[in-house]
Amino acid sequence: MNNGLAGTTLRINLSTGEIHRFPTDEELFRRWHGGRGVIAKILYDEVPRNADPLGPENIFIVNVGIMSGCYIPAGSKTEFGSISPLTNGHGDSNMGGHFGPMLKFAGYDMIIFSGVSPKPIFLYVDNDAVELRDASQYWGFGSLDCEEQLKKDLGEDFEIVTIGPAGENGVLFSCITHDFGRQAGRTGQGAVMGSKKLKAIAVRGNRSIRVHDLESLEKQVTGIIQRTKEHPNMEPWQKYGTSFFIRWSNDNAVLPAYNFQTTYYEDVGKIDGDQLIEQCLITHKACFGCWMNCGKYTKAVIEGKPVVHLEGPEYETGATCGSNLGMKDINHVAYINWMLDNLGMDSMSGGGVTAFAMECFEKKFITKEDLEGFTLKWGSVDDVEHFLDMVAHKRGIGEWFAGGSKRAAEKIGQGSEKFAMQVKGQEMSGYDGRWAPGMLLSYMTADIGAHHNRSWTITVDMAEGRESVEGRAKIVVYLQHIRPLFDTWCICRLFWGELDISPEEIVESLNHITGWEVTVDESLRTSEMIWNLTRCHYLERNRENGRLFDYPPSRSWEDKIPSGPGKGKGVTLEQVEKMLDEYYEARGWDKNGNPTREVLTDLGLDFAGDNLEKIGLLGKPTPGGIPPVRGEKYKPKAF
């Protein structure tokens, strides 16, 4: 194949141990663009609607897409997908590092796991050698410890993904870890691996990736790299990575503090990017083929605890596990980051769940007796360490929180769902949307729950007016098409936002790789098709009008921001409703948030329309029809 694909797809039945090889379906990749798109279609087609996400009928997909590994800036991503145990809908999550390209160098574009293994196993791939091997000796290992041991046992040149004890124990926000600190964190993909008894995947390969026009690709990509070396954002990006944004977010009243009670953190100077670099940095670390090196490999030094090495904290972890937990020392934030990594839990949800538990403790909804004699006070690293251990091993009330804050709030009651900061079961990332209404709408409508990578609008809100919600929905719709495209292409999106590399340039690279003649608009349409399919899938599994699932917790409109530059600001419930109305209209969905026949037909998704019709959830025709183009093009400023 001369189109960026390696050529082979593996299907592995873990119940029987059978491994089958198939030629990669080029047409599927052409139509759905790879990565998230192909995953969305396979999950829609193959997983029964009543399948338990942690049961044998769910499938677990590893997809490297088309562009990953193809000498493309930051072409490093691996996309994982399965029905999310956290949201009970389509789930996908990706990570950088070196695993995806290596899988392609070994000759594989995709691995689809089905069934449940009778015993712990790991998948060993060394070019043509593909074997399920016993993992009993690694079961129970931390994610990072397991990767270290596997490298010792197999060889340093293997690229490895692992899960930790949380994934083994079915903690619903468990992540997949790679390269000693890169995670596919969201939607509980680690829990699905754990349910299948799949502890790790180790890959090594030495083959070439063939592309359509390497000469043009090399010329274009080398040109982009040389051009952007002098970009003004390059230096801060290389120095701080995303930790730069901690202070910026605080200055702009979006940094969550004390479980999203406020957006101003008085001790930000103790946990910001400068502290990370000065106190913790060991080395700058990059993903495969990336010249921005946003990864910061660090150490956490705390008296009385072992010195630990980790990658991060990046912005999201710095926010969700730093200010959001009231931490006053960057080493403490880093230590919690390391704990979550090694236990195998998503640091965004992990931080969110811990913050929720801390507020419950503050309000006396949970007590020392519930916490095995420990307290859970803001800023206490010892308390957090003990709490996370309870959650990862589902000890006592740890089991409640192992289901995420939404499920924990159902157990705790007493109105705690108001401050369980999640949507569709997934915790919010590190931005408070009360004075950034587009960001709030992004969380509300993201197909995998409250995640920033589907649409990030902080600078849009700042430019377009933070008090008003007018016109924001159309921009969110566009961003929900352009941003997930990167997960479909399996490349990193940061250089688009930060170094001004245009979507047109990226699509030009895609065409050099594949020989296609795709336009940006065509790719955006593919992304819209994926978005509508994941929506249909969600409705088919959850059997209620979509609108019911699209509300944030009521803190978002009931409590105004109490301190800092955003003091007194916040959206109203009326504005939340208005944003939803405008959003559905912009998407061609009805007021109930259900896709209409007209939009599904326009996108070639009639089969999904038929399925919605059967269960009575097809959107009613909207007066005046659907917009001819959904979304409004917008280039958000970097920062």
Partner: protein, 138 residues
């Protein structure tokens, strides 16, 4: 002409490996590169690039005289003469001569300097030595 390594600057991105294989084999395949990156994680958590130092050991041990020195002083493999016996691979003190199952000859740096041009952290830089001048007589 030599490649200077600032090892603490390396971020492990492997762009150098990719451009090396593209330049010499017109393929995307970091396993066909004439340099290597060692990653030591989790402890101490460092990358270390290894590049040819032009020590000449490969020329010394080659039974076919397939390694010659060009005008600029670089040791170059004559792909016609090389039999892929692997003696130089074993002898190379920095481990940057490698073999690949696709090829009937060894892969060795020819000092094209593309790796130094692509590197964004100056972990690899082109180092032009000053011309050696005769010492003044005392």
């Amino acid at each position: 002409m030599r490649i200077k390594v600032n090892r603490d600057n390396c971020t492990g991105c492997r762009l150098c490996l990719q451009i090396c294989a593209i330049e010499h084999f017109f393929e995307i395949n970091p396993k066909k590169a004439a340099l290597r990156i060692e990653a030591k994680f989790p402890d101490p958590g460092k990358f270390r690039p290894f590049v040819c130092t032009q020590c000449g050991k490969c020329a010394e041990v080659c039974p076919e005289d397939a390694v010659y020195q060009n005008e600029a002083g670089g040791y170059i493999v004559d792909q016609e003469k090389c039999t892929n016996c692997g003696d130089c691979v074993v002898a190379c003190p920095v481990g940057v001569i490698c073999q690949h199952p696709d090829l009937g000859y060894v892969i060795k740096c020819d000092f094209c300097m593309e790796c130094t041009r692509i590197c964004n952290t100056k972990a690899l830089v082109e180092w032009k030595r000053k011309p050696v001048t005769a010492k003044k007589e005392a």
